[in-house]
Symmetry: C2
Subunit: 185 residues, 2 copies
């Protein structure tokens, strides 16, 4: 999924500025499983305009700095449907934390403990946050989109599983580490 497609996706859900598109990947609906930076969003939006997939409307009103609100054209909507017809790439996960824990033997045990605690806290709070958004949407009485519901539930489940695993294995890791250092050093 290139950033052009990602912008198409956000704009498919309604008009937005470049800044708002960024937020959709930071705290919005696409957070946790897709991302894009300003350095790729703004050029992508320019290209969308050039290709006639979107139109921009300048709003100078509110604060002071001009803002450009982008909206998809029919061409853009068609391009989005074409894009989601393509075969998806494999999921990818990148974790510096697991990388460091892999080398736990090479780190001071107290650092390993701190690392794993931060990891647990981070995953737990992310699960809680998504979960609170879900219950909020449930109680709001608004209509629930099955796709979005599945995706957010996936996030809760997987983050929880990750946190639980680390809670269960924190002790064993630390004691395994100390046993080894007793034997080897």
């Amino acid at each position: 999924m290139d950033v052009k497609t990602l912008c198409l996706a956000v704009l498919f859900q309604g008009e937005a500025t470049g800044y708002e598109i960024k937020k959709a990947f930071e705290e919005g609906p696409f957070a946790h499983f897709q991302r894009a930076s300003f350095g790729s969003i703004y050029p992508a939006l320019s290209k969308l305009l050039a290709d006639g997939m979107a139109v921009a409307e300048a709003h100078e009103q509110d604060g002071r700095p001009d803002k450009k609100v982008y909206r998809l054209t029919q061409t853009g909507r068609a391009a989005f449907h074409r894009a989601i017809g393509q075969e998806p790439e494999h999921d990818q996960f990148r974790s510096d934390m697991l990388f460091l824990l892999y080398f736990a033997r090479e780190l001071p045990p107290d650092r390993v403990a701190a690392l794993i605690d931060r990891y647990i806290e981070s995953y737990s709070s992310q699960a809680d946050h998504i979960d609170s958004c879900r219950t909020e949407r449930l109680t709001s009485g608004a209509e629930i989109d099955p796709g979005r519901w599945l995706v957010s539930g996936f996030g809760v489940e997987v983050y929880r599983a990750a946190a639980d695993y680390l809670i269960r294995n924190r002790g064993p890791l630390l004691s395994g580490l100390s046993k080894h250092s007793q034997a080897a050093e």
Copy 2:
């Protein structure tokens, strides 16, 4: 974690060629949570040589094409320890599958079903594969590194949780989708 550090990590575990380093991220110990391509590995290795962090030995023997076996120097080993002393970046996950499922409403239901089935199959087989490597190592009687054990267990647990969630929610998603299309179209 830049590719230079990643190469340092692989070489820390023993000498290797560029090709073997790539494999460490494809099927080796770092698969699933870190990655690197040839386009970044070879330049990184050149830099490692230039910085005196590694030395290369040419082997022309075996097949026909020359291979360069890289080995870390003391400087390299020190650089690696310095690198793992740094603060890790946040974990990141990117999933085209979840992106597509988010837009399930915009896709033909049979495609959604196929997509989710492939997803389940992929996650299940990855969990099984890591798990078989773990039982193999357990029964081999060789010493078990606590860090690596934790990391591989994490993979099994999280992949299983993801697959289980999708198995449980495949039906509800599909029926939710058909209910909606009845109501709206």
